[in-house]
């Protein structure tokens, strides 16, 4: 078992995804590496524009072309480098089959003019897993049950507008797990939901993982959501992972000044403070990023070296690492 667990489900190695715009090159993902095991949940935490969504779109090879291009790196799923596959193979073998995705806004990921049953049945039809209508219907009822949609046989005839926000997100989750994927990418799956619905959705994701052993990548800006469900956390800033480690180390002993600042700047229930910690300045302009460590203009402990050279990865507790000169 221990040996088996060491073989990662997915391994991303030195991934670089750039956007070639008229105004210049944006290094949206600039050398990102991580691994994820079966049944593990990895949280990618960061602010808008830090590259967390681009990393996941790269894994699915859904980077908007021609502006975006994966310029370097390997993405190895179950031993195959999926960057070597052609588009045909990606569509027939990987997307929806081995890797699937739940996106942020369930309203825009569902088509308003097709019934829920039609759409959830889509993956079965596309991948030819079920041949006849009856078989597809049964499979749809089955998967809707799995995501705890009440009376699925009736509700599959309904349209997205008849579903509430929480139910829509469940329907999207049903499509994602339809073909029994090995890896599920959830991009801000709960940020459009209310708290009482959010917790239902998070629990559903955990249950799905227990039942199917799926590896889960959760992208979020909400530190509470990440702490709730993830075992390991990658903190991204300006296209790179600045700190990586197990969830306890990251939350209880954060090493990177950015991680520390993020954790200090959110109000917490039951801990009323007079003032919140202020992170000065703005997230960097990626067309014109700062030299060296991208966080130095906002860092309260910056040194000369930070502006000159990007810091190396320094190992921290819990098999993690941090990229910061302070720890050198």
């Amino acid at each position: 078992m221990a040996d088996h667990a060491r073989v990662p489900l997915l391994s991303v190695e030195d991934l670089k995804t750039y956007l070639f715009l008229r105004r210049g090159v944006v290094k949206a993902v600039d050398g990102v590496s991580f691994q994820i095991q079966e049944r593990e949940t990895l949280g990618i935490v960061g602010e808008s524009g830090c590259g967390k969504s681009m990393t996941c779109l790269s894994i699915l090879r859904l980077i908007p072309e021609p502006a975006g291009r994966i310029v370097e790196g390997k993405i190895i799923l179950d031993g195959t480098d999926i960057l070597q596959l052609d588009e045909e193979e990606m569509a027939s073998q990987i997307r929806g089959r081995k890797i699937s995705m739940i996106s942020q806004d369930p309203l825009t990921s569902l088509n308003p003019v097709f019934s829920i049953g039609d759409q959830v049945g889509g993956p079965f039809r596309y991948h030819g897993l079920k041949k006849d209508r009856q078989g597809i219907r049964e499979a749809v009822v089955d998967v809707l049950k799995k995501v705890r949609i009440p009376s699925p046989a009736q509700r599959l005839k309904e349209y997205p507008y008849q579903f509430s926000g929480g139910m829509r997100q469940r329907a999207v989750a049903a499509m994602a797990i339809a073909c029994g994927p090995r890896l599920l990418i959830a991009d801000e799956p709960t940020s459009s939901l209310d708290v009482t619905i959010q917790i239902q959705m998070l629990q559903l994701l955990e249950d799905i993982q227990q039942e199917t052993n799926v590896g889960l990548i959760l992208i979020t800006h909400d530190l509470g959501v990440a702490a709730y469900i993830c075992q390991r956390i990658a903190v991204m800033y300006a296209g790179r992972i600045v700190e990586f480690g197990d969830v306890r180390t990251i939350y209880q002993k954060p090493s990177h000044p950015y991680t520390q600042a993020l954790l200090n700047s959110v109000p917490r229930l039951g801990e009323k403070k007079k003032r919140l910690f202020n992170i000065e300045g703005q997230p960097p302009d990626l067309l014109n990023p700062p030299t060296g460590c991208a966080f130095w203009p906002r860092c309260d402990r910056k040194m000369d070296v930070c502006q000159k050279e990007y810091p190396p990865q320094i190992p921290i507790e819990g098999e993690g690492y941090v990229s910061c000169w302070l720890l050198k």
Binding site: M167, V195, I199, G224, Y228, Y251, L263, R268, L276, N278
Partner: protein, 337 residues
Amino acid sequence: MLLEIQNLVKHFPARRGLGLAKRKALVKAVDGVNFSIPEGGTFGLVGESGCGKTTVAKLVLLLERPTSGAILFEGKDLTQMPPREVKAYRLKAQAVFQDPYSSLDPRMKVGSILSEPLLAHHALPRREIKTRVAELLDIVKLPRGSDEYYPHEFSGGQRQRIAVARALALNPKFLALDEPVSALDVSIRSQILNLLADIQERFRLTYMIIAHDLALVEHVSTEVGVMYLGNIVEKGATARVFQNPLHPYTQALLAAVPRPDPDYPKPKAILSGEVPSPLNPPPGCKFEPRCPHRMEPCRLKQPLLMEAEKGHEVACYLHRSLQHACEIPIISKLTHK
């Protein structure tokens, strides 16, 4: 009290069905809301989407006319005011909205955005406007000369600063803040929250803040009201409501917030179901279908908001004083939780 809301009601007409089956229905967005805000205080209104919290803000700002009820500002009822006095009220009550990308006109320079309220109300002679704009930029800590740029040249956090500056232009007494930071990045939120706290102290402002983030509301407000389907179900001093929540909905809401602490115990019981449609709310307590403690009386009659302890009101039959007051037969095995 600077602002007093009494029995505020707003019903919106809604049409359901087609042709012969067409019938009229009412969405009771706000259904009898009471609260008051003392000068210099911050009242936080929390609740999930569709609970009516934004409608309350619109009513208070007179962007919508209430169906019934009174809104007393400095003791005068706004709903009965002649138009000229209403205009004077608009000088004193301003708003900051959620999305700084859509609340600023993209075709106006920041200078015009900030001087527009001054011009519209003839608040200052023209030659003094430029100085006032510079002063406003200074208050919200934007660089001098920002008035020469357009909103798109600023980041989200800076845009929200512009929106705050615009709200301050007329020296208001009261600001309604509708989700002022939820569209912003995590690292920017604390900047704006700290700025709002600073200007509140500096200009002795009174705030009403609307948010779905409970931790944020606990952080900023002195008093808080929890809304569910058009009613305030619990209200009181922030510390009391958050440390000793009495309504099962407030308890569930607080339990459902994921904490940024991996060792925090996960909630055992999770609220099932979703918020019912406001077109067809349950007849008794509106929370009854989802409530883990529901009892017979809850289905029959809506509980009223009543004092459970000093400065802490709740609308729930679990509290004995309410059963007496509402003439509901007491159930003997009922425990006081």
